[in-house]
């Protein structure tokens, strides 16, 4: 049995083996001590419906995790209930809807930049709004003049990722948020890229009204196997009443041992969005991570994440197109257009060839505004040796693309499974005959 799982682990790629530089996914090392914390009997064994006075520790943990996230972001209150980032986005958009409905001012559209995560327009649509796209300027930042033209009395909110998916910080964020607020709309921050600004910049100070966090990216809870994740949502005081219920709360007037409680009495709440309190043990891992690092440690996370990304960018810029130049934040986006036009090697081929070098491929073909995109996020937990090895592999592949392109377009050759026929898998989707037999 042990050998079966060991064999499977050997066939798989994971961050214990080598770098996993998926842009926008923050695949950092997940400290094992977090697993020990989540396995503590008092956390793993507590029944969710036990009376609050017998679960003070569990509720206190949720309350204080919420306070930590509020302090980190400059928000006033946080719900831990959404089980993923996209779920946090939807909760955010439903609160936007509740806010405008309360004011008798129902609006129709939400503005999303063209570099946004695909989940943004999906969340907008699920909440019953139409998406309007705002273009990025030549520097990869939101075109503020175009934003000004698009924002009007129908705009319910603007969703912004900062730094954005190009790894570029929106330097005019204050001005952008002023434009949004002057139109009576709300500003939403997609917190997927929070790793770049931990302890350095706070979205609440910039004027954002709502944001979500990804505990499974920024706060080291594991992800990549389909979850479970956790996507808490933070809001400014004027939106607290719309947060999902129940909310972990504290009544300081009560005696010790009774002060923490789950607050169900929230008549303006958008309702529950997950069973009981959300993914509780994922919260435990994030709580342990924050306590372990402390404020200085969290700031060092961001500093090293940005340093590592800039180091890699500088090593790779001579070998690949870098469409948006200048220092990056925690990630950067290369383009394989030179390799494609001159040698017929696409971003997909480069990604597959990296597997032969024992490296996980980065995100490809995203963001959509970069042709043949390779989106690289090394994270703060990779050493300089590991970054050098990744850069050497990328540079070797750039050379192979010129000299022996068929080696790259035929990759991978050393993995347990060779090149997948993705087109066939999508065209002839048949999940019933999984033994490989297909009807011709």
């Amino acid at each position: 049995m042990v050998r079966h799982f060991a064999r499977l682990a050997e066939k798989n790629h994971h961050v214990d083996r080598a770098i996993y530089p998926l842009g926008s996914c923050t695949m950092k090392y997940n400290p094992r001590v977090n697993e020990d914390v989540a396995a503590l009997e008092g956390l793993a064994g507590v029944h969710p419906e036990v009376e609050g006075e017998y679960a003070q520790g569990a509720i206190a943990m949720m309350y204080h995790l919420g306070r930590f996230l509020a302090e980190i972001s400059g928000m006033d209150a946080v719900s831990l209930q959404p089980p993923a980032g996209a779920s946090g986005e939807l909760v955010g958009m439903l609160m936007v809807r509740a806010y405008h409905a309360d004011r008798g001012d129902q609006r129709k559209t939400v503005i999303v930049p063209d570099s946004a995560h695909g989940t943004n327009p999906a969340s907008v649509a699920l909440a019953g709004y139409c998406t309007m796209e705002v273009a990025s300027g030549p520097d990869g930042r939101i075109d503020v003049d175009e934003l000004r033209r698009e924002v009007d009395g129908d705009t319910a909110a603007v969703m912004i990722t900062n730094p954005n998916t190009l790894g570029v910080f929106e330097t005019r964020i204050q001005e952008i948020i002023d434009v949004v607020h002057e139109a009576g709309a709300l500003a939403y921050l997609d917190g997927a890229n929070l790793n770049a600004s931990l302890g350095i910049a706070r979205s609440g100070d910039a004027g954002f009204d709502i944001m979500h966090f990804n505990l499974h990216k920024t706060f080291s809870a594991p992800h990549g196997g389909g979850g479970p994740g956790s996507g808490p949502v933070g809001v400014k005081a004027h939106l607290t009443k719309y947060l999902p219920y129940p909310l972990a709360s504290r009544d300081e007037a009560k005696a010790e041992g009774y002060e923490y409680f789950m607050d169900y009495d929230r008549p303006k709440s958008i309702g529950k969005v997950h069973a009981v309190y959300g993914n509780f043990l994922v919260m435990a891992k994030a709580y342990a991570y924050i306590l372990t690092l402390g404020p200085e440690g969290l700031r060092r996370v961001a500093e090293n994440a940005v340093l590592n990304a800039n180091y890699l960018q500088a090593l790779l810029e001579p070998h690949y197109e870098l469409p948006y130049k200048g220092y990056c934040q925690h990630e950067f986006v290369l383009s394989a257009t030179r390799q494609k036009e001159e040698h017929g090697v696409r971003a997909l081929d480069i990604a597959k060839r990296l597997l032969d070098y024992g490296v996980h491929a980065p995100t490809i073909y995203f963001p959509l505004i970069v042709k043949e995109a390779l989106m690289i996020e090394p994270t703060e937990t990779e050493s300089r040796e590991s970054l050098d090895r990744f850069a050497e592999a990328m540079i070797a592949i750039a050379r192979e693309s010129e000299e022996t392109p068929e080696l790259v377009t035929g990759a991978p050759t050393s993995t347990p499974v060779g090149r997948m026929d993705e087109a066939c898998a999508a065209r002839e989707l048949d999940v019933c005959s999984w033994d490989g037999d297909r009807e011709e």
């Binding site: 997909l348 073909y365 959509l368 042709k371 993705e422 087109a423 999508a426 065209r427």
Partner: protein, 124 residues
Amino acid sequence: MSEGLKYSETHEWLKIEGEEATLGLTDYAQGELGDIVFVELPAVGQVLAPGDVLTTIESVKSVSELYAPVAGEVTDVNTALDADPAILNKNAEGEGWILKMKIAPDADVSGLMTAEQYEAHTKG
């Protein structure tokens, strides 16, 4: 690129014969999209204004939309694409046609490009 076809900025080609036109996705665009795995065909009889969404095309990379370059009405669709969307990758500007339409009498075709102009557009 084929001679005699007209091209739009949004990567549709049109073969205009009198008031009838055949429409498809350009060869350049299929190359950019990569392996196409699904084409959602419009309904015969659908009336189109310029800029209306005609079809959704899904490739292994992304989902894209085709737009009506001119006003008209859909008269026929290429149902062969339902069974084998790969035709679009093999022969986008011939066998991989998407629909036939009757062009509206007052339709404006002056904004369409020649093959040379479209080639310049894709390199710009």
